[in-house]
């Protein structure tokens, strides 16, 4: 029996050594916490990614690795999971943001697993830094595809106007030909009249084919454009959009502040479209601050008494050139040297299609604040 136990212990030690050697070399960070969120293990990759040593963080609350609002909410996330068993991230994974020891925020992909060890529950988080462009290339391609799709939907608003005009022409012609045929048949049914009626019906038929072609063009245009509005958490939309917009921005030293009103969390929106609005505004804000000495990006939400939620994206850049202020939300208007100037136009189309509005104003201390409203889905 002792011999068996001895062999078993050696085997376990070998396994543990093997496991440790794997964990020491994998590029993803691994953080193990207990069920109250206190750190039990912090891998070498985690030390490199976050700037803390394992010795420093053991026993600390894992929320120290997160920026607001996750920092102050994480304890309640765990409490909620312990109470309800409802999985919001475990086994699912998500894109979010993390906070380095030096204070900067960076985008990560987080996967969390759950296990029981000696009757104690532990959670293991695998953290993938998606700052490095080559590692997110595939994900960005997916996102670009989605954004292109959303862009087409947004353009639909302006296309719809001209298509309605085009469609009106054959429909009017069909109505005219049919009325003429009816009037002719009312006056008699001689050969000449019947020939004229047949001619009118032929024309009506051609016009209906033309109308059908216009409808098919419209259908092809929007074939990937179905929007899907549902109740979404604004906190989650902002966190994900912020993470994606921050990709590649670390070297600029942007200070990111996210200030969320808990009474303004649930909104009734198309997730992909609103994330595009947020990503556009955040990217614009980052671009605007590249040459500023102060680089503060502030994203805040506020409940509106009129059943709307207001989202604000503020920067401390130089502000918007007076030459483009009046037409800023028009397509192909931009103050950037590189850029087509359709981002804000698309933002406006998306926001207005949700029943909201978008506007901007100068910040008192310098910079620009963009605001948009979205329909609240209540608490």
């Amino acid at each position: 029996m002792d011999r068996v136990t001895g062999v078993s212990s050696v085997s376990m030690r070998d396994s543990e050594t093997h496991l440790r050697s794997i964990l020491a070399t994998i590029p993803d960070a691994m953080v193990v916490i207990d069920e109250t969120g206190h750190i039990l293990s912090f891998s070498a990759a985690a030390e490199r990614m976050f700037g803390y040593t394992e010795e420093e963080v053991l026993g600390e609350n894992v929320s120290m690795l997160m920026p607001s609002p996750d920092r102050e909410r994480h304890d309640s996330y765990l409490e909620n999971y312990r109470g309800t068993g409802e999985r919001k991230i475990i086994g699912i994974g998500r894109v979010t943001t993390a906070r380095h020891r030096d204070g900067y925020t960076f985008p990560i992909e987080l996967s969390v697993g759950e296990a029981w060890l000696d009757e104690k529950r532990i959670f293991t988080g695998f953290i993938h830094d998606i700052t490095q462009r080559q590692n997110v290339e595939r994900r960005l391609q997916d996102l670009q595809s989605e954004l292109a799709h959303v862009g087409r939907v947004s353009e639909m608003a302006s296309f719809a106007s001209s298509l309605a005009h085009e469609l009106n022409q054959p429909l009017t012609a069909i109505a005219n030909y049919c009325e003429a045929a009816r009037d002719l048949l009312g006056n008699g049914s001689d050969r000449e009249t019947l020939d004229t009626v047949q001619e009118a019906l032929d024309e009506a038929s051609k016009e209906s084919v033309r109308a059908g072609q216009i409808v098919r063009r419209l259908r092809n245009f929007i074939s990937r454009g179905e929007t899907e509005q549902r109740v979404e958490s604004l906190a989650r939309l902002i966190t994900e959009a912020n993470a994606l917009a921050l990709v590649g921005s670390r070297e600029h030293g942007i200070e990111v502040q996210v200030q969320l009103d808990p009474d303004a969390d649930l909104v009734f929106v198309d997730r992909i479209q609103i994330q595009q609005v947020l990503t556009n505004l955040i990217r614009n804000a980052i671009d605007a601050m590249i040459d500023s000495s102060q680089k503060s990006l502030i994203i805040r939400t506020a409940a509106d008494p009129q059943d709307y939620v207001t989202v604000t994206v503020e920067d401390t850049g130089p502000g918007i050139s007076e030459s483009v202020v009046a037409e800023l939300f028009q397509p192909f208007v931009t103050s950037k040297s590189a850029g087509m100037g359709i981002g804000l136009s698309i933002c406006r189309t998306i926001v207005e299609s949700h029943g909201g509005r978008i506007w901007f104003e100068e910040r008192p201390g310098g910079g620009t604040a963009f605001h948009f409203t979205l329909p609240s889905a209540g608490s």
Binding site: E56, V57, S68, E72, G103, Q257
Partner: protein, 125 residues
Amino acid sequence: MIWKTVRLELSPNVSSTKASPSRAFLIRVPLDELGVIDAAELARDPLRATVLRTWSSEPDQFGHIERADGHWVFRCPRKRGEDVYRMPAVPLGLHEQVTVQDPNGATQPFTVASIGGTNRSSARA
């Protein structure tokens, strides 16, 4: 004059015997070679002097730094009003101690855990 990011971490004290990296201030200030915050330089670009307070399980606080009553004052706006923290105007040396008085008047010891390099714009300045 170089702008630096200085990290102040809560030191062991009467309420905790362990230093706590999860309770910290990150201040961006112009430092001279002795670690003294240059008041004149800061006055030239006051919006650049920022503070980030990260405190375990509490919302991040951001604010600006200014000189008042012989102290460096960290003003962090809240939804209503602001929280004010005060640090004596002493040199900031790596691993040295400073005290910070919180809005309730309690003074806590902090260690200068790191003094970061310049950012891109400071290097140009």
